[in-house]
């Protein structure tokens, strides 16, 4: 397996993505140090354009610092994205692995259940759930996770289905290994790279869904998220173009960096692709 350093030098996109993501994470982690206090606080004169002294990204109609909003919003947005992805991947992998490995009736039941969620338009379902339940952080995370897991489950099922009939799985069975152990240590590691790629793409989609919810004004007002900033800035677009453009750019860069990182991870985690240069 090639080292991460080698992968980054061979795949400049992944290096750019990693750097971007690191910067965004830095912003999220140190938001309180960089912009202490409540980001909703009215700090100065309203409608300052970007690059005003002391207010790098300008201010909104109420004189709130947009840079502080972006920094604190990064925290909320990433928290939601990571939590949803974690939940969806865990549940999706479990359902997919069981369906694919055992096949037959188990597979039928698991897949009909999965399809039930896939037939409902996912964004609408989240919006409905968030609108009915109180829009707390937890309910938003659960609502988005609920519509996100089926694609992981289907992906994992398809991969496991073909892996379960491979001879190395038979060899593990002949060797007397228990079924959970075979699934965990022989089958699932071989599904890892597509799942990681799918997860990084999903993180990006989650950010978009969450932004959509907040944009529609259905999110939790107690937290600043990028989608909320984008949504509130929209009304003043003719006067303050930066209020919706800058959160939009932040979403774009994060989604882009996640895609690039997912690509690089795939390259790194797949032992066959790292041996590509040696064997034709």
């Amino acid at each position: 397996m090639a080292g991460p350093r080698e992968i980054l030098s061979r795949n400049p996109g992944a290096a750019v993505g990693t750097a971007l993501l690191a910067a965004i994470l830095f912003l999220a982690v140190f938001a309180d140090l960089l912009y202490p206090g409540d980001p909703w606080r009215m700090a100065t004169r309203p409608n300052l354009p970007p690059f005003s002294p002391g207010y790098l990204l300008g201010t909104d109609m109420l004189g709130r610092d947009l840079a502080a909003g972006i920094a604190h919003g990064a925290r909320v947005t990433l928290l939601i994205a990571v939590a949803v992805t974690g939940l969806a991947v865990a549940f999706g992998v479990a359902v997919g692995a069981v369906a694919g490995y055992f096949g037959g009736r188990v597979d039928d039941v698991a897949m009909r259940f999965t399809e039930f969620f896939q037939t409902i338009p996912s964004f609408l379902l989240t919006v409905v759930i968030v609108a009915i339940v109180a829009p707390s952080l937890t309910s938003i995370i659960l609502a988005i996770a609920l519509v996100s897991w089926p694609q992981i489950a289907r992906l994992v099922r398809a991969e496991v289905l073909s892996l379960a009939s491979k001879d190395f799985v038979s060899a593990a069975r002949v060797g007397g290994l228990s079924t959970p152990r075979i699934i965990w240590s022989h089958v699932l590691p071989n599904v890892l790279s597509p799942v990681i790629v799918a997860a990084s793409l999903m993180t990006a989609t989650v950010i978009l869904i969450e932004s959509g919810i907040s944009f529609l004004g259905l999110g939790n007002r107690a937290f600043v998220s990028w989608g909320y900033l984008l949504g509130t800035g929209r009304t003043a677009f003719r006067v303050n173009w930066w209020l919706s453009t800058i959160p939009g750019v932040a979403i774009f860069l994060t989604v882009l960096s996640l895609n690039l990182v997912g690509d690089g991870l795939n390259d790194w985690l797949n032992p066959r692709s790292s041996g590509r240069s040696k064997r034709g």
Binding site: K166, D167, R276
Partner: protein, 545 residues
């Protein structure tokens, strides 16, 4: 005879990141009108690339001709445009591929596909072409011509699909038929029929055949002349008798020696006492899965009352064609499949099916067919070998020690332990697979086609290794194979299966020289290169005297 194809100093370059520069290196070759030229070589020898170059089928981005020329009937085809090639291919050069299932279009009826080959080169109107299609279907001896033309590829058997391919290839009465391993994916009896058909058509149409194969038995049966390739170079060309009986090149000699002779080896002492494994009346039926409210689908009896015994230290070869149930039987024995009725007794104790007798499991181990699929690509060799042993209660240090002993026993060095499977060749992987099976110190080894995915010289090495190991460890072995030559090289006893039943069971000497069942006789007669075998044995005898 005049030359139809003349190749001079042809070189074909491989992409930059390949393990060598040239796929084909300064090869010269002549194919005369009406002759069968066999091109022999192991995987990666460049034989398929050479054939593709003649028909202009090289993938343009990866492989390009860097030197030399190919003249087809006097015209240099290396300078031909794609349009020029299109007039040549199909019309004057027919091509048959190894895997007829992927070479045929799955959504078109086979008659349409044959007709298309005709239409591409302007052969009369629809009715004329339809008549010609029927004629071709009859010429390739497909059953029920009027109906079979409306069938789709998946409705035909492998042999029938290959006949359709041949019908397409000869539709326009070409001068040259290129056949790239056309029988490798087929059963022996089907292979024998297809070979006979190709020779027949050659005679009738007077076409030249370039037959690519790795099987010297096939060569002995059909070749007029033979060319042997190794790593892109031509090492030897000559008449079939000259190359097969007095090979000049050391590489050819090694290849030919590696082909197992079809006669019983020195029979091991007969086995006394209780058998290690006894199979009684084993039945397994596959049902087509249907929704519960529909009628039960058709059933396939994979095992239909199997009775078999394997003695201690005995090697039994289980021979049969695809679909005979031999793999299913192996899976029942190692515990990968359940059965519906019958008994399996191992060392006096009855086995209950899958996943139920963990304690007995390590004593029966398995070697798999595909060395690329049988090792987990994400685990290092160390883990592949030691994991099961540790799970079965061996301390880590003892497992490591046993692993090192086995690595050297199968001919790999200790450094192999820290590498991933993709760093090894097919033969080396099969050695690792064998070491894994031996890690648990089994008493019975079930080997399912362990050498059929390997080149002939590697195959001979693995067979030698297996023989050595079972001699040293006193293992019993069930060796599943479709190849009677291989069976005769390893087995004390040969058991022949057909459609889920055992039709023949005897010592290898008896089965090979006096088969009792009609099926075993047919199987034996279909082994390619029988005549050559007799001559080889006679030569060996004279050499011995």
């Amino acid at each position: 005879m005049t030359a139809l194809v003349e190749i001079e100093n042809l070189s074909v370059a491989l992409p930059d990141d390949a393990d060598r520069h040239l796929a084909v290196e300064r090869v010269s070759l002549r194919i005369d009108r009406g002759e069968v030229l066999c091109l022999v070589g192991e995987s990666g020898s460049g034989k398929s690339v050479l054939a593709a170059a003649i028909a202009g089928l090289l993938p343009p981005k990866q492989l390009r001709i860097t030197g030399g020329n190919i003249r087809f009937d006097g015209v240099d085809v290396t300078r031909l445009s794609e349009a020029g090639f299109r007039r040549l291919r199909g019309k004057r050069i027919g091509f048959i591929f190894q895997e007829p299932m992927s070479a045929l279009n799955p959504v078109l009826a086979v008659g349409r596909q044959i007709e298309e080959a005709l239409a591409a080169h302007d052969n009369g109107d629809r009715t004329e072409r339809a008549a010609r299609v029927l004629e071709l279907v009859r010429a390739t001896r497909l059953p029920d011509p009027e109906n079979i033309v409306h069938r789709y590829p998946h409705q035909l058997s492998g042999g029938q699909r290959q006949r359709v391919m041949i019908a397409m290839a000869i539709a326009n009465e070409p001068d040259l038929l290129i056949a790239d391993e056309p029988t490798t994916a087929l059963d022996v009896t089907t292979q024998a029929e297809i070979l006979r058909l190709i020779l027949d058509i050659r005679q009738r149409l007077g076409l030249a055949v370039l037959f690519i194969t790795h099987d010297f038995g096939v060569v002995a049966d059909i070749a007029d002349r033979v060319s042997v390739m190794k790593e892109g170079r031509m090492v030897e060309t000559g008449t079939a008798t000259a190359v097969l009986e007095q090979p000049r090149d050391p590489y050819t000699r090694r290849l030919i020696e590696a082909v197992p002779e079809l006669h019983a080896g020195v029979a091991m002492k007969s086995v006394a006492g209780d058998p290690l494994l006894a199979v009684e009346g084993l039945v397994k039926t596959y049902h087509e899965r249907r929704a519960p409210w529909r009628q039960a689908g058709p059933q396939t009896r994979a095992l239909d009352g199997i009775g078999l015994a394997i003695g201690r230290g005995e090697t039994v070869a289980l021979v049969g064609e695809s679909g005979s149930g031999k793999t299913t039987l192996g899976q029942c024995i190692v515990g990968l499949a359940d059965w519906d009725a019958g008994k399996l007794r191992f060392d006096g104790r009855e086995l209950a099916g899958t996943a139920r007798e963990r304690a007995l499991r390590p004593r029966i181990q398995m070697v798999f067919q595909d060395p690329f699929a049988s090792l987990n690509p994400r685990h290092r060799v160390r883990r592949i070998l030691t994991e099961a042993a540790i799970v079965n209660g061996l301390p880590r240090e003892a497992a490591e020690e046993r692993m090192l002993g086995l690595l050297s026993r199968v001919g790999l060095d200790a450094a192999a332990a820290d590498r991933f499977p993709h760093a090894f060749s097919g033969g080396q992987r099969q050695r690792i697979g064998l070491a894994r099976a031996l890690m648990l110190q089994p008493e019975l080894l079930v080997a399912d086609e362990p050498v059929s995915a390997l080149d002939v010289s590697i195959q001979a090495q693995i067979l030698d290794l297996l023989a050595e190991i079972r001699r040293d460890l006193g293992l019993s072995m069930l060796f599943i194979t479709h190849d009677l030559r291989v069976a005769s090289a390893v087995a004390d006893r040969i058991v022949v299966m057909q459609e889920g039943r055992i039709v023949e069971d005897g010592t290898s000497g008896q089965v090979l020289s006096r088969p009792r069942s009609a099926y075993a006789r047919a199987l034996l007669a279909a082994v390619p290169g029988l005549g050559w075998d007799h001559r080889r044995r006679a030569a060996d005898r004279t050499a011995a005297e």
